[in-house]
């Protein structure tokens, strides 16, 4: 698709003019968004991109009129849909416009669909509200839009409930619903964030395709520059409620002018693994042999469905090395991690650490080996006990292994410096820290055990891209400093490319491919790896780097 240049933008569908929205009293700043202006043209995809708290979602919801005005109050400016100011419309007038002239799709299609209503009826509801079609006309139109979004066998899917569909199918239903009345404006709020990378690619293709065929103007909210690179015609970059920069996609991605944009774009990890010095093969830190984990959800008198979460997994990590495990949700990558840390019991196989197979050890026999393997989890907000100080959380482990409180605290202070935090922060509680800082604390807590193996289970996935880069750097630094073997679990191929020496690709509980990162990325041998790499958003775009 040829990207349009700035001086030939199409006829305007949505125009945001000097819009400011205040936050409720007691929030950390006065404005959710302040004096922002941009336009969305017919048949154009405008990406509003920013980190969490930038105000990008508030913008979208304000246009739709979906936020109670008493909480988030528009105080200045206009939001013009085909020239009509949405902000002065009554609730009833807005209701008329919603669905008919502007429609919205959301991040999590599972929760955005009513679980107790057939999906065909949910699409049909749109027609029922805004048209006087008869039931049979509605049904015909629903089947038509379902086919339009490439849902297989619309007749059959019409009568299904959301839980019977896959994530991608659900998002297609949402899109079909949004398009049922051919609105001029489609607002998409992070519509692919909750989806796996291969599904994401398909949904992005669909949105592009629809926008081309129907001439819909799309306001696309995202935090992911890969996605921006895939679909944007025009990009609006937001930070702390302000628009810091906007322009044609090629210009923003290739030659950003604002320092914040430059920082953001240069933080996007490259899909090309860097040249890594050939490492000598060192002593083995962790070896997993033929690991199985089967869940049986059967119970009393109930024939269980067996779920093979991990099957015949083999892996070796040497000291000082990072092994990446990549895969989509349900691939079993986290199951492997949890089996190795023995948070769950493997069904079969061996986990060799310090010359001992810990796969079947009972808790008491296992405890001495626990310090050798430590883990950092995904969610920084749930990884620290909110009722205990950071110091208490860090010293807990070492004191289990015989350190006095004083010695453990000394070690904690040292580690706080290592992870880049002030040692006096030990007396504070987790809620006083940001997400990235909490993740640093979790790393310090893991290091306090002096482990041989550090497992990072999606440890940077919940972080904004700029913070993500810093935490990745920290992980790499501590690996070198303490000569750790690191097992790095992620769904993000970009992140994996940057930090992993070797990589392992999992699908449906099975390892499909394993090898040096640079080799796997350059020459995937398994079709699934190829599909994953081919779906990575922004793979054909060169992101600007900081000079």
């Amino acid at each position: 698709m040829a990207k349009k240049t700035q001086n030939q933008r199409p006829e305007t569908v949505l125009e945001i003019k000097g819009l400011s929205v205040t936050l409720p009293e007691g929030a950390d700043r006065e404005f959710a968004i302040q004096d922002i202006s941009f336009t969305v043209g017919k048949g154009e995809i405008v990406c509003v991109v920013g980190e969490s708290g930038s105000g990008k979602s508030v913008t979208a919801h304000t246009v739709m009129g979906l936020i109670p005005r008493k909480d988030l109050t528009p105080v200045a400016g206009q939001a013009l849909l085909n020239g009509e100011d949405l902000l002065v419309k009554s609730e009833a007038e807005l209701r008329e416009l919603r669905g008919e002239r502007m429609a919205m799709i959301f991040q999590e299609p599972m929760t955005a669909l009513n679980p107790v209503m057939k999906v065909g009826d949910q699409i049909g509801e749109m027609l029922e509200i805004h048209t006087s079609m008869s039931a049979s006309e509605r049904a015909a139109r629903v089947l038509e839009v379902m086919a339009d979004v490439n849902l297989p066998d619309p007749k059959k899917l019409f009568d299904t409930y959301p839980h019977q569909l896959s994530g991608g199918q659900r998002q297609r239903i949402m899109i079909a619903m949004a398009l049922a009345l051919e609105p001029g404006l489609l607002i998409a709020d992070e519509p692919t964030t909750a989806l796996d990378v291969t599904t994401q690619a398909q949904i992005l293709d669909l949105i592009k395709d629809i926008q081309e065929r129907h001439g819909t103007g799309v306001l696309f909210i995202t935090h992911d520059f890969g996605v921006v690179a895939e679909i944007a015609d025009h990009v609006v970059v937001m930070q702390h409620g302000l628009v810091v920069e906007q322009g044609p996609a090629a210009q923003i991605l290739g030659k950003p002018s604002h320092p914040y944009t430059q920082m953001l774009i240069s933080s996007v990890p490259s899909l090309v693994p860097p040249e890594r010095p050939e490492r000598e093969v060192r002593e083995t830190a962790l070896q997993v042999h033929d690991l199985d984990k089967t869940y049986d959800d059967g119970g009393f008198l109930k024939k269980g469905r067996q779920v093979k979460a991990a099957q015949g997994v083999e892996l070796v990590i040497h000291r000082g090395e990072t092994l990446g495990v990549v895969g989509e949700s349900g691939s079993g990558k986290s199951t492997v991690a949890r089996c190795i840390v023995r948070l769950i019991d493997p069904t079969g196989g061996e986990v060799m650490i310090s010359g001992q197979n810990i796969a079947g050890l009972a808790e008491n026999a296992l405890r001495p080996y626990r310090r050798d393997v430590q883990i950092v989890f995904q969610d920084p907000y749930r990884s620290l006990n909110p009722r205990r100080t950071v110091g208490q959380s860090i010293v807990e482990g070492p004191m289990n292994f015989g350190l006095s409180h004083h010695e453990a605290l000394e070690r904690a202070r040292e580690l706080m410096r290592v992870v880049g935090l002030a040692p006096d922060a030990l007396d504070r509680f987790p809620h006083q820290f940001s997400g990235g800082q909490r993740q640093r604390i979790c790393i310090a807590r893991a290091l306090a055990m002096e482990p041989k193996v550090l497992i990072a289970d999606e440890a940077v996935s919940a972080l904004d891209v700029s913070v993500q880069a810093q935490v990745l750097q920290l992980l790499d630094d501590v690996r070198q400093r303490y000569d750790l073997a690191m097992l790095f679990i992620t769904h993000d191929l970009r992140v994996a490319a940057q930090v992993c020496d070797r990589i392992m690709v999992m699908q449906n509980g099975v390892v499909v491919e394993q090898g040096l990162t640079s080799k796997v990325y350059a020459n995937p041998s398994h079709s699934y790896t190829e599909a994953l790499l081919g779906a990575a958003p922004g793979r054909n775009t060169e992101f600007a780097k900081l000079a």
Partner: protein, 314 residues
């Protein structure tokens, strides 16, 4: 689907056995000599011996238990010490008023509580929401019998609108007398039940109103009334129905008191008469009877989930 039904039905068996075992052990493990407690302060040694014999307390405990379970399996809930009638016969004689009172109460409660709770949730924070919440806290705090006497005092004695006490069968005396006698007991018994269900409805609907799919419905341009009825209430149905089922236990306790206040010759009165007459087998039989009813009602409610929620299918 059929598998789900069978599993739910079978799952009630262990619960029933546990209830039976608990009731059995209650008599055998209670401190002191239950036979002499039951016989009362003025009983002779022969009285006590006779009661012990009737309760079967002289046999080895395992034999007692086997007989007990075997009897239960055949529908034998025991025999009254004083009238020598089977408890099941006594229940049959007294069950009609209790069933009627329970039914009118459940119907009245649902008709009042579900709309109240839904409106309160929809208008959360408004005066109507506050009023519903105040009513529900107050409803939990006033003892059933005090409420009953207040109603009798005001409506029957002062205003003389309705009869003071008693029960008239719909089948013998007709609908008019039946209703005149059942209105006050129903209202009395409903108050706490309405408090409970209105509160639960409000909470469930409020929670559902926060869900993403409600936002989706609004994004479609759907009217608030339809959002409330076809999206929110339908999704809130399972917790509401569940609490109605759990509330049945509360209702059974209330029935005993209400029947006593209004002098209704139902199962509640049977319990009280048995307490006064120290006829323990009747109390025991009624406990089993009510517990089994409660388990069965909740089984039906469990099965009804499949109507409300398509995700529950196996």
């Amino acid at each position: 689907m059929l598998g789900y039904v069978i599993r739910r039905v079978l799952a009630t068996i262990p619960v029933m056995v546990i209830v039976a075992a608990f009731v059995f052990l209650m008599l055998r493990l209670s401190p002191g000599d239950p036979a002499s407690v039951i016989a009362g302060d003025y009983a002779t040694a022969e009285d006590i011996a006779r009661i012990r014999e009737q309760l079967g307390l002289n046999e080895p405990i395992l034999v007692q238990f086997t007989k007990w379970i075997a009897g239960l399996a055949q529908g034998d809930l025991g025999t009254s010490i004083f009238t020598n009638l089977p408890v099941t016969t006594l229940i049959a004689q007294r069950i009609e008023p209790t069933i009627m009172l329970t039914l009118t109460t459940i119907i009245f409660t649902v008709l009042v509580a579900v709309p109240l709770g839904t409106i309160a949730a929809w208008k959360a924070g408004s005066w109507i929401d506050r009023a519903v919440m105040v009513f529900s806290v107050a409803g939990f705090s006033v003892p059933v019998f005090v409420l009953g006497y207040i109603l009798i005092y005001v409506i029957s004695i002062q205003l003389q609108w309705l009869p003071v006490q008693g029960y008239r069968s719909m089948f013998e005396h007709g609908v008019g007398p039946f209703l005149r006698h059942i209105i006050m007991p129903t209202v009395t018994l409903s108050v706490i039940f309405i408090a409970l269900i209105a509160r639960m409805t409000r909470a469930s609907v409020m929670e559902v109103l926060q869900e993403d799919y409600v936002r989706t419905a609004r994004a479609k341009g759907q009217s608030e009334m339809k959002v409330l009825l076809s999206h929110a209430l339908r999704n809130a149905a399972v917790p509401i129905v569940t609490v109605i089922g759990i509330g049945i236990a509360l209702l059974i306790g209330g029935v005993v008191v209400t029947e006593s206040v209004y002098n209704i010759p139902g199962l509640g009165r049977l319990v009280l008469d048995a307490v006064l007459a120290r006829d323990y087998p009747i109390i025991q039989g009624l406990i089993l009877f009510f517990s089994f009813i409660y388990i069965l009602i909740n089984l039906v409610i469990d099965l009804s989930y499949t109507l409300f929620d398509p995700r529950i299918r196996y």
